[in-house]
């Protein structure tokens, strides 16, 4: 078989194609998992720990069980119970005094039990009738407290002696000598807080047993087959052999927090089993903040040394961050000093585990934090050296790797300096950097308002993955069905598949029917690491080519020609031998009663990995009130071959806005006295609205020769760093931590005097 390549001349790929499901989504006709209502469906709610750390002393469900409308109750202790559990006798067959009393709860929001009732109102009533006593235990919810009390006994799950565990150390070159030889030396402390994913469709599902061997879930998940498989495994662990089918036609955001059924998925499956009725269980907004994942914080004290010409010779960082009760924080010794290569490096990190919900992957895990830390420090170094920070960045770009140039000329290693330098040039032009940049604090003013401009760089992987099956079926009426079990987080995945198949078959994307989000269709990988488009677009190309070739084989004899003579042009099939041409429908009609199907899986050579990205922020800061007004963000982004330009631009602008939220608004605040999150809502956990948004200029740096690379994560990485640098450029003083709220800006100004 000939090697499959992207078409050299592209008719649809790389153009702006409105998403196929746009009208359905905009008018509420698209059914998300949370919109599924089934006949006889029950509603379930979860009881959660009110304390940051406690033990269940007693639990009495007798009144709740008798409450109006209640159909089933199951506890987390029962789900986890292994003592005496055996085939056919699941954990929930055991009483709660055995499975739950004595169980430790580790954060405000930790799951205790769930109740299913005929209405949500009844389920909530019943929750209030649960009689439960807690023994409160010591907790730590602040990183500074944990670091001070590093010898105190651990308050989090696991066998570690302390809440503070090592995150790793790395030394390279001779940091001490570099420090001694430094012409310019700066030290600063920078940080970002814990933020939460805030998926607008909260986590949850509808679970329905078709029969004791078959469970269907409509689950909001970014891993459709993966979630079905995990739930199947959970049930098997309880001696229940059943197939699980997951349906996710539409989902309201995931951002890295929706890779499995979670505890609520297990609870719903068991409640539906016990009640013999479909169960809907979705978290409330407060539960979503508390228990559905968050992004780890990061704080680092960074020292950068270098020469007066702007060459960085040393990067030294001591950092820590918290994953809540999780074990893996976002400060990562592998990623510092982020996009730069520095000869002398010394990094040490600590993970500070606290009594709040566990961290989960969140859009470009670890990158926004490490970008903020590195790019803030690089800017401070440039300022100390009295240099334009754009020039300092150009001077310290990682070089194109000579070996990679020979062996993998389209790899990021072979191209990175070129990509960054090109993108910095484009960003400089679009932002008018040369005209607008000024030494820190020395820019234009309007009354108390001061102008600032700042920039930052980022990088990401975005590789394709194997095990993505796409099926393309061509029917005799000319209709085309594209199927893949993958999910659309909002990226426009349906449209991506349609664009690729339409390109091959000479059709328009909107002429195709695309079905995604059903686990039984075949294999697909979770949408993590910006891998969905680079994983499925190549599979769609292979499937479409296979379907096309099969069509040619089937219809060639009926057209009195050879399959090799047939070719596709926009809307028609031509026979090179006879010079005749047929419309797509005429040609497909020759299939008669048959249809043809092509299958494709991801294969190497069509996707790539590694992207750059440059962002420039322009701000005005009110030195009297501390208010920061964002004027403009320029985002220059590459992602190899652009499949849907409209979708790519959306992803980049959306990433920038998520970065703006990190910079300006978001922070999970946990009260040290009570151990409770005080802002699990949208009143005090702020997200920007349309009036908060600056002008956003997006430039896609299209590099079709590199193949397809993921775009979802990179554009959110450097926004907060660029904004922080712009504020510093305005004020001549750094605001070291996000969010850049007025109080922090004023505090920074005060520290200057």
């Amino acid at each position: 078989m000939a090697e499959i390549k992207w078409p050299a001349k592209r008719r649809v790929i790389g153009t702006r194609v409105p998403r196929l499901d746009g009208p359905d989504k905009a008018t509420g006709r698209a059914r998300y998992s949370q919109d599924i209502n089934r006949p006889g469906m029950l509603h379930a709610v979860i009881l959660r720990s009110p304390y940051a750390h406690c033990r269940i002393k007693s639990l009495d469900l007798s009144e709740a069980e008798k409450a109006p409308g209640v159909r089933a109750i199951v506890t987390v202790g029962q789900l986890n119970y292994t003592g005496g559990r055996k085939e056919g006798k699941p954990g929930w067959a055991f009483p709660v005094n055995k499975t739950d009393v004595g169980r430790e709860l580790f954060y405000h929001g930790d799951e205790i039990l769930a109740i299913a009732a005929d209405t949500e109102e009844h389920a909530r009533d019943a929750l209030r009738l649960v009689k439960i006593e807690y023994e409160q235990l010591p907790f730590i919810v602040k990183e500074s407290t944990a670091l001070q009390k590093r010898n105190a006994p651990s308050t989090v799950p696991g066998k570690d002696a302390s809440n503070v565990i090592p995150g790793g150390n790395r030394t390279q070159g001779d940091p001490d000598a570099a420090k001694k030889a430094a012409e310019v030396l700066v030290t600063g402390t920078y940080g970002v807080p814990v933020i939460t994913h805030c998926c607008l469709e909260t986590h949850g599902l509808v679970a329905e047993w078709e029969n004791p061997k078959s469970l269907v879930i409509w689950c909001t998940t970014q891993a459709v087959p993966g979630t079905a498989g995990q739930l199947q495994g959970f049930l098997a662990g309880h001696g229940i052999t059943a197939s699980v089918r997951c349906i996710t036609h539409y989902m309201g955001g995931g951002f890295g927090s929706k890779f499995g059924p979670d505890i609520q998925g297990q609870l719903a499956a068991v409640l539906a089993w016990l009640a013999k009725a479909p169960v809907k269980l979705f978290l409330d907004r407060d539960e979503e903040h508390l228990a559905a994942g968050n992004r780890p914080s990061a704080t680092a004290t960074v020292t950068i040394a270098g020469n007066r010409d702007g060459t960085i010779t040393l990067f030294e960082a001591t950092s820590h961050g918290t994953p809540g009760i999780g074990r893996s924080a976002g400060v990562n010794i592998g990623i510092l000093p982020y996009v730069y290569e520095v000869a002398n490096v010394r990094i040490s990190t600590e993970i500070v585990r606290l009594n709040h919900g566990a961290a989960r992957a969140m859009r470009a895990p670890a990158h926004p934090q490490n970008c903020f830390i590195t790019e803030s420090a690089v800017d401070d170094f440039a300022n100390a050296a009295g240099l334009d920070p754009m020039e300092v960045r150009l001077k310290n770009l990682p070089p194109n790797d000579p070996n990679a140039i020979k062996t993998q000329p389209t790899s990021f290693l072979a191209l990175r300096q070129t990509i960054y330098a090109t993108e910095i040039g484009i960003a400089a032009e679009l932002s008018q950097w040369k005209k607008k940049w000024h030494p820190p604090g020395k820019g234009p003013t309007k009354g108390p308002w001061k102008h600032g401009i700042g920039m930052a760089l980022h990088t990401w992987g975005g590789a394709g993955r194997a095990d993505n099956d796409v099926f393309v079926t061509i029917h005799s009426d000319g209709s085309v069905l594209v199927q893949c079990s993958t999910q659309d987080l909002g990226t426009g995945e349906r449209t991506v598949l349609a664009i690729v198949v339409a390109e091959v078959l000479g059709l328009e994307p909107k002429e195709l029917t695309v079905i995604i989000g059903e686990s039984q269709i075949g294999r697909s990988t979770g949408s993590g690491g910006s891998t969905t488009t680079p994983g499925t677009a190549p599979a769609a190309l292979v499937a479409a080519i296979n379907a096309r070739d099969e069509l040619f084989r089937k219809i060639a004899p009926k057209l009195g020609t050879q399959p090799e003579s047939l070719a596709i042009e926009a809307g028609k099939i031509t026979d090179k031998a006879s010079g005749k041409s047929y419309t797509w429908r005429q040609a497909c009609a020759r299939l008669g009663m048959e249809s043809v199907r092509g299958q494709g899986n991801w294969q190497p050579g069509l996707s790539n990995l590694g992207v750059g990205g440059v962002q420039v922020a322009e701000v005005w800061v009110d030195t009297e009130t501390g208010v920061v007004r964002l004027e403009r963000i320029v985002a220059v982004q590459d992602c190899g071959m652009v499949v849907n330009k409209l979708g790519c631009e959306s992803q980049v602008a959306g990433g920038v806005i998520m970065g703006i939220n990190l910079a300006m608004f978001e922070e999970m605040i946990v009260d040290e006295q009570t151990g409770r999150m005080v802002n699990p809502d949208f009143e005090f956990y702020k997200l920007g609205g349309i009036l908060d948004m600056p002008e956003i200029i997006v430039h896609m740096h299209d590099m079709p020769e590199r193949g397809v690379i993921g775009i979802g994560e990179p554009p959110t990485i450097s926004t907060a760093a660029a904004i922080g640098n712009a504020i510093c450029n305005a004020l001549g003083v750094r605001v070291p931590r996000t969010p850049f709220s007025p109080d922090r800006v004023l505090a920074a100004l005060q520290s200057k005097t």
Binding site: A26, P50, E133, E683
Partner: protein, 209 residues
């Protein structure tokens, strides 16, 4: 003494319990009368088991021109009534406390948060939900602009934004982009589609709504 299972930030009574205990609902129930029906009650949708609060009553809503009657407890919000009892799921439940706008519907032409109104209070009023903007293959110009300019990603906030924008143009067909943006200031999008929304609303302003 067993402790209350309520997390302390949820006061001893919930918002719904609170509302059901206030004059608001009491008045509504008195007006309708417990157990009485307004119009033809849909018996099939009646709740089999009464709860602790006032008993379910008939509630007749006019949704996109169609009258629908269900039996609901007086504490049920307009949003929950639409989503859970009438299977009208275009309005989304995101914050459930009037901060995000995902549940925006038009009530007699005025955009409101459906999560902050009791269903019984919406009786006798004309309720427009996003579903009404795509009927018989005809797509209303506001959602059409959202689709054309890709002013949506996950799309969970989108129906709310669409209704807020439609309400804006219904009131003032000559609204300026700045005025339309102010009408959208009560809505939140997490995917960050504001830039594309600006493209969409500018195109509509140029066309005079």
């Amino acid at each position: 003494m067993p402790e209350s299972p309520h997390p302390p930030h949820k006061p001893g009574i919930s918002r719904r319990e609170f509302l059901s205990g206030t004059g608001l609902t009491a008045a509504a129930t008195a007006l309708i009368g417990p157990g009485e029906t307004l119009g033809q009650a849909d018996k099939a949708k009646a709740i089999a088991t009464p709860g602790f609060g006032p008993k379910p009553v008939a509630c007749e809503l006019t949704v996109n021109g169609t009258r629908i009657t269900v039996q609901i407890e007086p504490r049920v919000t307009l949003l929950d009534c639409l989503r859970h009892y009438m299977d009208v799921t275009g309005p989304k439940r995101v914050c459930d406390r009037g901060t995000c706008g995902a549940c925006t519907v038009l009530l007699n032409g005025k955009p409101i948060y459906a999560c902050t109104m009791l269903a019984l209070e919406a009786q006798g009023k004309n309720i427009e939900t996003p579903e009404s903007l795509y009927q018989d293959g005809q797509l209303h110009r506001v959602p059409a602009a959202f689709a054309q300019y890709d002013a949506q990603q996950c799309g969970f906030c989108t129906p709310g934004f669409v209704m807020a924008m439609k309400g804006c143009f219904d009131r003032n067909p000559k609204a300026t982009p700045a005025e339309v943006e102010r009408c959208l200031a009560g809505n939140i999008c997490r995917c960050g589609t504001y830039q594309q929304m600006r493209h969409a609303l500018r195109s509509l302003c140029q066309k005079g709504g």
